[in-house]
């Protein structure tokens, strides 16, 4: 009986299958987020206050962190774009073995632990690491590479490159190669054909990939913490620091809410441009 009833009314059983996950998300995600925002606005004191936000926008150290976060994320996005564009182009237009080889190489950072990758960069950039030893052979003195802004950019670009390459390649695949050939037949040089035909068509991918990389970059923690110096602190690092060392939970909540809100804004811009479905599946 129950089986037949369920066959007749599958909606009820599907609702039953969704219930546990909605309960989990409600209890372990929505409630904590609401609680975090409430805490940042003074729920533990019982009065509405902006006192926990005030230092973020008035104290130089925190303004500096906000600026760092923005600057590092923006630069990472630009560098990632420049590195990824030709790779994605060859993935989309190259012959099968080349395209497969480049895809596999692109996915390497995806499937290795973030800590392992970052450690690899520490080995390359450290005072007695690969790059400095190579410089030494050329007779150039050791250069401070590790614990610099440059190291943070290199590490973050490395981690975020796959997202950019994959987003660009999926857009490039949809561009008809016949268009470039047509431009060539009408006498356009390759460079001209690229600038006037291919590049404008690739812009949705450029925008999508950039928004995605920027969105992921602003929440970065491990890479700037391990490869940067005290001057390269990003917002995610001080959120954790407030809990770990300063024990200032309310301030941590305010910083975290700011990061949360910024991420949502970037995400909604992305969703507006590309549709919600695409936006949700972007970060796999």
């Amino acid at each position: 009986m129950s089986a037949i009833a369920r066959l007749r009314n599958p909606k009820a059983s599907y609702a039953l299958m969704l219930l546990p996950v909605l309960a989990l998300i409600g209890f372990l995600f929505i409630y904590p987020m609401v609680d975090m925002v409430a805490r940042s606005l003074g729920s533990t004191q019982g009065t509405l206050t902006t006192q926990y936000y005030a230092p973020i926008f008035s104290k130089t150290i925190y303004l500096r962190v906000l600026w760092n976060t923005f600057e590092i994320s923006l630069l990472t996005t630009l560098v990632t774009l420049v590195l990824a564009y030709p790779v994605a182009y060859l993935i989309a237009t190259g012959r099968r073995p080349l395209s497969l080889f480049l895809t596999v190489c692109t996915l390497i950072p995806f499937f290795t632990s973030l800590l392992v990758r970052t450690y690899g960069w520490m080995v390359i950039l450290s005072p007695e690491g690969l790059l400095n030893e190579a410089l030494g052979l050329l007779g150039l003195g050791p250069v401070a590479l590790l614990y610099t802004r440059g190291a943070v950019l290199v590490g973050m670009t490395y981690s975020l490159l796959p997202y950019m390459v994959l987003t660009l390649a999926s857009v490039f695949r949809g561009i008809d190669p016949g268009l470039m050939r047509a431009a060539g037949l009408f006498g356009a040089s390759n460079v001209r054909a690229f600038l006037h035909v291919y590049f404008p068509l690739s812009l949705p991918g450029v925008l999508g990939g950039s928004l995605l990389v920027f969105l992921l970059a602003i929440g970065y923690f491990i890479t700037p913490a391990l490869l940067g110096s005290g001057r390269d602190q990003m917002i995610a690092m001080i959120v954790y620091e407030q809990v770990d060392r300063s024990l200032n939970w309310e301030f941590a909540a305010a910083l975290s809410t700011l990061l949360f809100a910024t991420t949502l804004v970037v995400f909604f811009v992305y969703a507006r441009v590309f549709g919600l479905g695409k936006a949700l599946e972007a970060k796999r």
Binding site: L22, L28, P86, T112, G120, A225, R284
Partner: protein
């Protein structure tokens, strides 16, 4: 097309050269770890002055590493169970039921993955502190499941979308109960996707640092936390040895995923 001009050819080789450099950029930090892990030096120096197993020996001999690995394994196992238990039925309902709110549910389930882990970790930290379950293996696995389960849902729903439901309906017409039809028809077809999803959950659980930083205590330090503690203080080659082990695990898991896919 006739033979390309010299400037076109130079252009093409410039692109190949540039992409070649990017490929080196992509593999270098992974490959560099392997020789360092066999270094005979007591500190990080490149190239290693000699060959030695000392760092692997230290891994096996120092109980903290084994203990951390054991914690990570327990958390990952529990995380797989939780992610599948919640994610599998949800994936079926999301693909097959035409609720008006389905897109909203989908967005809600996937959203923890899109936010920075620090934000989710802090929220969970407040909640778990209130409940007094920080520092427990179960709490840690539950916290990771919130951010990792979305991947399971993405993987399973995309497989189910390509699934021909007439196969199931045929089984039902021939008198199979829904459960039997599921067990004998649906499950064998989506099993490879479930196995791949489970393996990715293990990989992501081992990779997680931020949720663990917020939710664990010294007695439940995961491997990621042990690595973190050892890289923020000094850059010891012992981390290279751990990294090579983790790389081996990634390769093993990707190999298993490839086998599961082929089996499909």
């Amino acid at each position: 097309m006739t033979g390309s001009s010299i400037s076109d050819r130079i252009m093409r080789w410039a692109i190949y050269g540039f992409v070649g450099l990017v490929v080196i950029f992509l593999v270098a930090p992974i490959l560099i770890i392997i020789p360092i892990s066999f270094s005979s030096a007591r500190y990080l120096i490149f190239p290693p002055p000699g060959f030695s197993f000392q760092w692997y020996k230290e891994l096996v001999e120092r109980p903290e590493w084994l203990r951390a690995f054991w914690v990570s394994l327990k958390v990952a196992g529990l995380c797989v169970v939780l992610s599948l238990a919640f994610g599998l039925p949800a994936s079926f309902a999301l693909v097959r039921a035409k609720f008006k709110l389905t897109p909203l549910f989908y967005a809600l389930i996937l959203s923890p993955m899109l936010l920075p882990s620090v934000v989710v970790g802090l929220g969970l930290f407040f909640l778990f502190s209130k409940l007094g379950i920080t520092g427990s293996v179960g709490g840690l696995a539950l916290g990771q499941a919130v951010v990792i389960m979305p991947i399971v849902v993405v993987m399973i729903t995309s497989t189910l979308q390509g699934f021909d439901r007439r196969l199931e309906q045929a089984a039902l017409i021939f008198g199979a109960s829904p459960l039997t039809a599921f067990r004998l028809v649906t499950l064998p077809i989506i099993a490879p996707a479930i196995i791949s999803a489970a393996l990715f959950v293990i990989l992501l659980s081992f990779d997680d640092l931020l949720i663990a930083l917020f939710l664990s205590d010294p007695s439940t330090s995961t491997l990621s936390i042990a690595i973190w503690n050892n890289t923020t203080m000094q850059i010891s080659p012992v981390i290279a040895a751990v990294s090579v082990c983790l790389l081996g695990m990634s390769i093993l898991i990707l190999g298993l995923v490839a086998i599961a896919r082929r089996w499909a």
